[in-house]
Amino acid sequence: MIDVAAVVSQVRRGMIPAHVYGDPEIFALERDRLFARSWVFLAHESEIPDPGDYVVRRVLTDSFIVVRDEAGQIRVMFNMCLHRGMQVCRAELGNASHFRCPYHAWTYRNDGRLAGLPFHEDAYGGEDGFARAGQRLLPAPAMDTYRGLIFVSLDAGAPPLKNYLGDFAFYLDFYVNQSPAGIELRGPQRWRVKSNWKIGAENFAGDSYHTPHTHASVVEIGLFREPKASKRKEGALYQAGPGAGTTYKLPPGGDFAGQLRYVGYPDEMIPALTQAWSDRQRALVADSGFMVSAATLFPNLSLVHNWPQIDEHGTVRPFISLRQWQPISATETEVLSWFAVDAAAPEEFKRDSYKAYLMCFGISGMFEQDDVENWVSITDMATGSMARRLNLNSRMGLTADGKPVKPPIADFAGPGVAYQGFGEYGQRHWLSQWSDHLEREPATPPATDLGAAR
C-alpha cells in the first residue's frame, strides 16, 4: 500500500518520486481523488452547433454524450442505459433526435429523457410498475461552460467553473476570446502514446527550458523567423489560479497592433482582438511585452499558441491548439489535439493558421513529435524498482533554501505571479494542486436507482 503522505511531502519540496510517472497505485489515487472531483474539459460548443449534434467524450473510462438538445441547451449525460448498462451511443459524433439502446430498445430523447420502453405495460405493469416519466440518462454530476468550453465534474458539489478558473481565465481568454464570435474548434486528432498523462500537462505548464534542446531541429530548419529556442529564456512564466503557462518576449518598442502583426495576425483581425481583450490583457502584450505560448489548466487541458513561417516567402501565421491528456493507465495516455481559430477570422487566415498548426503540433507536428519521444522514455523508466530510489529534481528557479533565484517580475500586467527566465514554477504549481487532491480522502457519492421496490 502506497504511503501517499510520504509521496506528497517529497513533491511539495520539489523532489518528485520518479515512480509517480508509471505507478498503478498512484494512477488509482488519481482516478479516485483527482478525476472524481476536478473540473475536466470535454468539448466546445462549436463542435455541436445544431440541435441534435453530439460528440462522445470521456473522463477516464466514463463515457459522456455531449449533446445540444432540441431546445438548444447543452446536455452532458452518462452514456449508459438505465436498464442494463449498454452504451446508448456508440458513435463518437453525429446528429440524433434520440439515442436508442441496441440491447432492449430503451430509447432516450436527446435531452436525456426516457421516451421509449418496449412492452411497458406487459413487462412492468405500466407506469404503476415502473414510472417512465421523470427518468433520464444520468446527467454529469456538474456541468458548466466558459466561453463555449464545456467542462464536467464528477463532484456534484464542485464550485462554479468561473470560480475555479479564477485568475487563469485572464490567460485562457487570449486563446478562446479573440472576437465576439468566439473560437471554432476542429478535430480532435486522437492518438495513444505510452506516456504517463502528467508529463505533458506539466510540460505545457512551464517547461520553457526544454525548448532550446528538444526543439532544436525546428529552429535549424528555419521554421521560425528568429532563433526562437534561445529566446525562450526571455519569456515570462506565470502561475495564476489553477493554471500556469509560458510566454515569449516580444520585440521592444512595439505598440499593441504592431505586436499582433509581429506574431502574424492580419490587419483585418486587429480591431476585434483589440475589443475582445481588456485594457489589462492588452497591457500584457503592449507594455509588459509578452505573448502567450503554452499553458496548462489543471488537471489535463493544455493550450498552445505559436507563430511559424508557413511558406517559402516567410509568411508568419499564428495558430492555437487545445489538447487534452486523457489518462488511459499509469503508462498510457490518449492525446486529443484540436485546432482552434477565431470563428470570425477571414477564411484565408483560417487556412494559413491550420497549416501552421499541422506543421507544429498534433500527431504529425514537428514540435510534438520530439516531445512525445521524451515522455514515452520517461514513463518506460518510471515503472521499475530503481525509479523508487530516485527523486527527480523539480526545483529549478529555487535556491537550496527555497527562495526564488530571481524575484517575480514587478510590473507584469497579468494576474498571479510571473518570473522571467528558466524555472519549474509552473510545474511545481501544477504538482501542488495534484498533491492537494491526492491528500484528500475520496468521496463516496450515493448511487441513483430507479423504479426500485417501494
Partner: protein, 173 residues
C-alpha cells in the same frame, strides 16, 4: 455515373503504377527522404483525414476541417529537412519501417494522369523493447506523367483507425 473499371493487370500503365508504388515504398523504408521528395510534383497535395466512428448512414466518417496531414511541398520539404538534422530525436535512433503495399488498382482518368488505389500496412518498430506499431490505410493517389516519368501529384491516406496507436507521424505513408 458508373464506376470505371480498373485497368487489367497486364496493362503497361497499371504495371508502371505498381512499380512506382513499390519503388516509392523502398525509398521510404530506406529513409531516403530526399529521394522520396523527388518523386513528388511541385504542386503535391498530401492528405490524411482524421477518421471518426459514426453511425451507419451518417454523412461522413472523417473529421470536417482537420486532418493528420494536409501538406504542400513547402511543408513536406520542412519535414524532410528536419529529419536530416542531428536533433530530430523522435527518429534517433530511427524507426525500422516496412511499407507493405498491396491491392493496387489503376484507373485511367484524365489524359496524362492515373488514379491509383492501394492498401498500405506500415510496420514501425522503435527501440529494442517497445511493442511495434501497425498502421493500416487505404491510399488514393494521382500519378502524373512527366518528362521524368511518373510523379505523385496527390495522395489521400484513409487510415483505418479513429485513434492511432503510434506515438507520432514522423513517418510517411
Amino acid at each position: 455515373m458508373t464506376t470505371p473499371k480498373p485497368l487489367p493487370y497486364g496493362d503497361p500503365d497499371h504495371q508502371a503504377a505498381h512499380q512506382f508504388l513499390v519503388e516509392e515504398a523502398a525509398l521510404l523504408d530506406a529513409a531516403d527522404y530526399p529521394g522520396w521528395l523527388a518523386l513528388l510534383t511541385e504542386d503535391i497535395r498530401y492528405l490524411m483525414p482524421v477518421r471518426v466512428t459514426t453511425a451507419r448512414g451518417a454523412p461522413a466518417s472523417t473529421q470536417p476541417g482537420l486532418g493528420h496531414f494536409d501538406e504542400d511541398m513547402y511543408a513536406l520539404r520542412k519535414r524532410v529537412q528536419r529529419l536530416a538534422t542531428d536533433h530530430a530525436w523522435t527518429e534517433d535512433p530511427p524507426s525500422r519501417t516496412r511499407h507493405f503495399v498491396t491491392n493496387i488498382r489503376t484507373f485511367r482518368t484524365t489524359p496524362g494522369e492515373l488514379r491509383v488505389e492501394s492498401a498500405l500496412l506500415l510496420f514501425r518498430s522503435r527501440g529494442d523493447t517497445r511493442e511495434a506499431d501497425l498502421i493500416s490505410a487505404g491510399r488514393t493517389d494521382l500519378l502524373r506523367e512527366t518528362a521524368d516519368g511518373l510523379k505523385l501529384a496527390r495522395r489521400e491516406i484513409t487510415v483505418d483507425e479513429a485513434v492511432l496507436r503510434t506515438q507520432n507521424l514522423a513517418v510517411f505513408l
